[in-house]
Symmetry: C2
Subunit: 296 residues, 2 copies
């Protein structure tokens, strides 16, 4: 397989670091013939997130960028507003704990107490609260060129990553036009998105001209999360659910699914799509990026 | 593609019902050439689960078997013990609510209150409580023949399913020897497992001679859930995390990953594997079952 050219990698502000020792572990197994083999397998460890003095959640994560994960999780659950000022983010790698401190404590404690009592959790997010924020939300009518989508897909698929190294992981990439900027990976696709949200919060990055690319499915939760982050375009290699499509249309999010090789399907925002690329000129995905099940 | 023979389907107690109208919806999209197309897309709807008078969770689900999902969720979260007697399970399809009623209420209300206060939620499950139940758990040393694994994989891959019909969905199958018994699908892989747990609870099915097959990744949570259900063998088409492997070894769960065509990797329980099949005699997976991303 042809990996990314140096130029492609240089466009990243944060690229995956598959060689980092703490993210994978060698594990012994036996193949179908009974032969012993050594495998590079992704790590997964608990990270407990505190907002000021309150324990919020324990997430299972590969363990990189714990600060971004914590900030992004709190931001995406509505426990941290864009106007909130952080006074500290402390990560203790022995206790696997991150404490996010805000200047204004009391407000959040109250909001939070209410949330923790009334909302349940399932399939990755605090559901009740997520739908709440959608009322009246309309995303900017940002156009997207199909040439950008093809270029992003080709670059991302060729970027050395934990997925290519060890599989069993999801990737999410924040992009601007045809340039991938921040590529986060994690065992749960929601964690990868939350790390992006944390990075955007800390760097005060504008959302209205960005594209979010994910390897995961476009479920209602993924669509809601992207919309709440203010990002107007969401693209994925994977499929989609009917409700994900419905919500995307409701908030004016451009939704692209099953993006592989020259193929893709636009489920929402067709009028904002600038079809400037000839699909027939696009190459196939590299074989390694097509490995079924590695992210299933 | 060759679908299952009548004989294969007859072995199921519950098989997928991809033709059921409520599980999919026709959605319009545009392909890469701009051509309009109609797609069959899986539904996703909220289901709120009550235990007696208490609201527990709102889960996103395709919507089939809501009663099994509710019972299985409560069982797998430790809110329902095998010894509990159910006095009613009421599903209201207009309100999207299931109420599970138990004979003995007070006990659970107290346990639950404590749980709701102290545990957070992330990547699909109430984490703190799940690890708790593992202390001292050892699964029965059930042997598994590789001929069964190959036969199961071939039958399941050829079974007409929502996955083959619409993609973007996970499947989990409860099996006995080479026979698939109950095949559940859902947008979240945890829901599919919970529906199996609900069916086992209601039918009082023994776990110690069963095999659980899943299309999803073998993360710590999936391994813990299977172990807590008492099922000693877990197999998947997909990859695995280091901690998933570690927990499987700790509780004596036989763990098989990356099971595709003739290939598989045994990560735990090699000594309980009876290698009675010749890998070279096994065929490839049908092409439709290999579609990358449909479940990613």
């Amino acid at each position: 397989m042809q990996l990314a050219l140096r130029d492609d990698l240089d466009t990243y502000l944060i690229a995956p670091d598959p060689g980092r020792a703490t993210l994978t572990r060698m594990v012994k197994g036996h193949d179908q013939t009974g032969a012993e083999m050594d495998l590079s397998v992704v790590e997964e460890r608990p990270l407990t997130i505190y907002l000021n003095s309150r324990e919020i959640v324990t997430a299972m994560t590969i363990g990189d960028y714990p600060e971004y994960l914590a900030i992004g999780f709190l931001r995406n659950q509505g426990m941290l507003a864009d106007s909130d000022r952080l006074t500290g983010v402390d990560y203790d790698d022995e206790l696997d704990v991150v404490v996010v401190r805000t200047a204004d404590v009391t407000d959040h404690e109250e909001k939070l107490q209410k949330k923790t009592r009334t909302s349940g959790c399932a399939v990755g997010t605090v559901f009740g609260d997520m739908m709440e924020g959608l009322d009246g939300l309309t995303l900017p009518q940002t156009q997207v060129r199909t040439s950008w989508l093809y270029a992003l897909s080709a670059k991302i698929n060729r970027t050395p990553s934990l997925y290519l190294e060890a599989g069993a992981i999801h990737g999410t990439v924040l992009c601007h036009e045809d340039r991938p900027l921040v590529y986060m990976e994690d065992v749960g696709r929601h964690n990868a998105v939350d790390k992006i949200a944390g990075w955007m919060f800390q760097s005060q990055t504008a959302a209205e001209d960005k594209i979010l690319y994910t390897t995961g499915r476009l479920t209602s939760e993924m669509v809601i999360k992207t919309a709440m982050m203010g990002i107007p375009i969401l693209a994925s290699r994977s499929g989609f659910t009917a409700w994900g499509v419905e919500i995307a249309r409701q908030v004016g999010l451009t939704l692209i699914g099953r993006m592989r090789g020259q193929r893709f399907i636009c489920l929402s925002g067709e009028t904002r799509l600038v079809r400037d690329a000839d699909p027939a000129q696009q190459g196939d995905d590299p074989k390694a990026a097509r490995r079924k099940g590695a992210t299933a």
